[in-house]
Structure formats: C-alpha cells, structure tokens
C-alpha cells in the first residue's frame, strides 16, 4: 500500500516503525510531522490506534484485509495494497475534493502496521470474499 503514498509519508512511517520498535513511544517531533503531512486525520488516527481499532483479517488463502472500527462504531474495510475506505470522509475529502491523502481509518491501518499494534483475526475464505466485496463483517 505504501507505493500509493508520497515519499515523505513513506519515510515518516519508516521512522515511526524504527523509533517505536526501540522505545515503544513516538516522540513529539514525529507527531508534529504526522500532523503536518496528514493534517487533521493524524490525531483521529492516533486515537484509533490507542483504541486498538485496527484488525487484520486473514483467510486460509492468504488474503488479508484491514478492518477499522470508526468513532461511531461502524466497521470499515480497507484494502492492504491500495487506498480505499467506504467512509464518508474518504469519499468527500480524498475522492471528491482531493484535499487529503487518505482518511483516518487508512492512516490508522498504516500506523498500526508500523507499530505492530494491529489485532489479528482469521476468517474463512468465503467470509473473506463477502468482506472484500462489502457484503459482510467477520462475524457473518
């Protein structure tokens, strides 16, 4: 998924990965850089990280997908290799207005990936197919 990001954002996520692995913290200057690069989404995404809202679903075929519980409790499915989120902010700010690189759910997925804080869950291949096409959550 990182190839969809500008180089500065990729570098920032690499820095977060390295620093967090060593210290289990993100220093203030990196938090400021996150806010600078990603705008208001950064704080909301960090909040989702704190809430452990990101789950990586995987199925026996090896297919993986992110599911993020939004602030309103909605479950958003985000793909692992390219940017897409069914949330209204992605539709408006990213797709329609091109004002943001991504929404808070995708950024939270990036951050959890970098910090190793994603929950893990296994589903059947058929459940994965239904989740990928937006039909169902993992429990259905």
């Amino acid at each position: 998924m990182s190839s969809f990001l500008p180089a500065v954002a990729e570098e920032l996520l690499r820095e977060i990965r390295n620093v967090y692995q060593e210290t289990s913290q993100i220093p203030d200057e990196i938090l400021l850089a996150l806010k600078f690069v990603f705008g208001p989404s950064a704080l909301h995404a960090l909040d989702l990280v704190d809430q452990r809202a990101v789950t990586v679903l995987s199925s026996p075929s090896g297919r993986r997908v992110y599911q993020v519980v939004g602030g309103s409790g909605h479950l958003y499915t985000c793909y692992t290799t390219c940017h897409y989120c069914p949330c209204p902010a992605f539709a408006f700010s990213v797709l329609r207005r091109s004002e943001s690189l991504l929404c808070k759910h995708i950024l939270a997925a990036y951050l959890c990936q970098a910090m190793g804080l994603s929950q893990q869950e296994t589903v059947t291949d058929q459940q994965m197919s239904n989740i990928l096409c937006g039909k169902a959550g993992p429990g259905t």
């Binding site: 090896g62 793909y79 290799t81 390219c82 897409y84 329609r96 058929q126 994965m128």
Partner: protein, 252 residues
C-alpha cells in the same frame, strides 16, 4: 485502462489482448463483461483459425450483470488461487462504465465516485494478491495485470481530451489504473458510407496514445516498453476487419 467514446473497437482490442496473452504468453486470462459475447469480432476470425484450442481454454469468460455481481466475482478469486491450477495473470473488464451506472447524459453523483473507487481498488488489490501467488509458484507468469475499458460520452463534442480531463469518474479511475490508453477517433480518415472505393479504405481510424503516472514512471526508469508508450499510434480497422497498428511521427 482503455478510454474513448463508445465504440466496439475497445471490445475487439481487449479480446485481441486476451487471445495474445493466452496464446503467446501462455497465461490464464479472466474476461469479465456484462454482455455475453455472441460473435467473434471480425478482426479476430482469421487469427482464431490459426490458434491452438488449448490456448483458448486459458481464457475464462464471466458475465456479471451488476456491480454487486462483479464485486462478488472479483472478491472470490482468492478462493481458487491456492489450488493446483495457476492463478489468473490477466483480468480484463470490458465496459466498466456499465457496472458503475454512468450515463453519458447525466452528471455522476458522489456515490458513483465511491462505487468507481471500490471496484477499482478491489481489482488492484486482487491483482496484487494474485501476483504474490504467482510469484510463490516461481513467478514465470507474474505479475497479474488488470485492463479495463471505459466509455466516455464524447459524441457530438469536439476537444475530446479536455472532456476526458474533466470526467469525475475518470479522475477516480486514474488513481487506481496508472496507465491510460486513449482511443481518439480520427473522423477525417474514416471511409465515407457511400464511397465507391470503400473496399480499400479503412472502416475506421483511431489515434492511440498513452498517458498517466505509470508511463512517466516507466520513462524515468528507462523501462523497455517506454518507447512504445511514448509514441502515438494509428489504429486502422481494415475492410476485412483486421486491426492494423502503425506508429505516428512525434510531430503529427
């Protein structure tokens, strides 16, 4: 992504691509289209006569009738990617606009843009997954690529390229498909309906050119195919239906 006004030539090109990939590269192809293909494009009938039937067996046709069915078909491709049979190396979607509910006579709604992003992202994510599976098998048939065709309502307009730039759905598709192949009909070269010498004149002529961030990246990296994508091409449909490509000078 192949883009242009509504015409059958895009289906012929996609069909030719599927046959070429299956017969010359030996890869498996999935061809998705909302309408079952009733007859072979005239341009391919001679080609098909010389093909090994085994090559054609590498092409699978599926006919999802709605966006929901298309999403379901693409989303379930991972289920058979671990079996003994090789995964698809090429996924073709003919007539993507028909799955997105885009009508040339009305402006797309915000939900149309989200739907376009969902379908495109699922295709891209599926191709990335199948590429990984192909690489696990040795990588001979990797990567998996996606080609879609998209009609834009340019009939009766001049300055087609500027309209293409303004199409809100196309701007979404450009996010996910990094190379755009534009077909621009050359109306000055088409045979007039009443032409006496019409058996020698092409039935239609298109200008073909590539654009998008994928082309730029290839040029920067000095990839081999960059010289092909850098050029403009003339595509003529001959009276017997054959497709003839010829490079155009950069000053044309």
């Amino acid at each position: 992504m192949i883009v242009g006004e509504r015409c059958d030539i895009k289906t012929s090109l996609l069909f030719l691509t599927a046959i070429t990939a299956a017969s010359e590269l030996g890869v498996k192809v999935l061809f998705l289209t909302p309408t079952p293909i009733q007859s072979l494009p005239g341009s391919l009938q001679d080609t098909l006569a010389n093909l090994n039937p085994d090559s054609l067996k590498k092409i699978k046709f599926m006919y999802p009738r709605s966006r929901e069915e298309l999403l379901q078909d693409v989303a379930s491709l991972h289920e058979c990617a671990c079996g003994p049979s090789a995964p698809y190396s090429l996924i073709i979607v003919d007539g993507l606009e028909r799955y997105l509910g885009v009508r040339p006579d009305s402006s797309p709604q915000p939900e149309d843009q989200s739907a376009a992003a969902h379908v495109s992202a699922l295709l891209a994510d599926t191709a990335a997954f199948l590429t990984r599976k192909l690489e696990e098998r040795g990588g001979a048939y990797a990567p998996c690529r996606v080609i879609v065709s998209f009609d834009v309502g340019l009939q009766g307009h001049s300055g087609g390229e500027s309209l293409l730039c303004m199409d809100p759905i196309l701007s979404i598709l450009d996010r996910y498909f990094s190379v755009r192949c534009t077909l621009d009909r050359d109306r000055s070269s088409a045979a007039p309906a009443t032409a006496i010498a019409s058996d020698k004149q092409p039935r239609g002529v298109w200008m073909v050119y590539f654009s998008g961030v994928g082309v730029t990246a290839r040029l920067t990296a000095g990839k081999e195919e960059s010289s092909i994508m850098q050029r403009q091409w003339r595509l003529a449909v001959c009276p017997n239906g054959a497709l003839e490509f010829s490079p155009m000078g950069t000053d044309e």
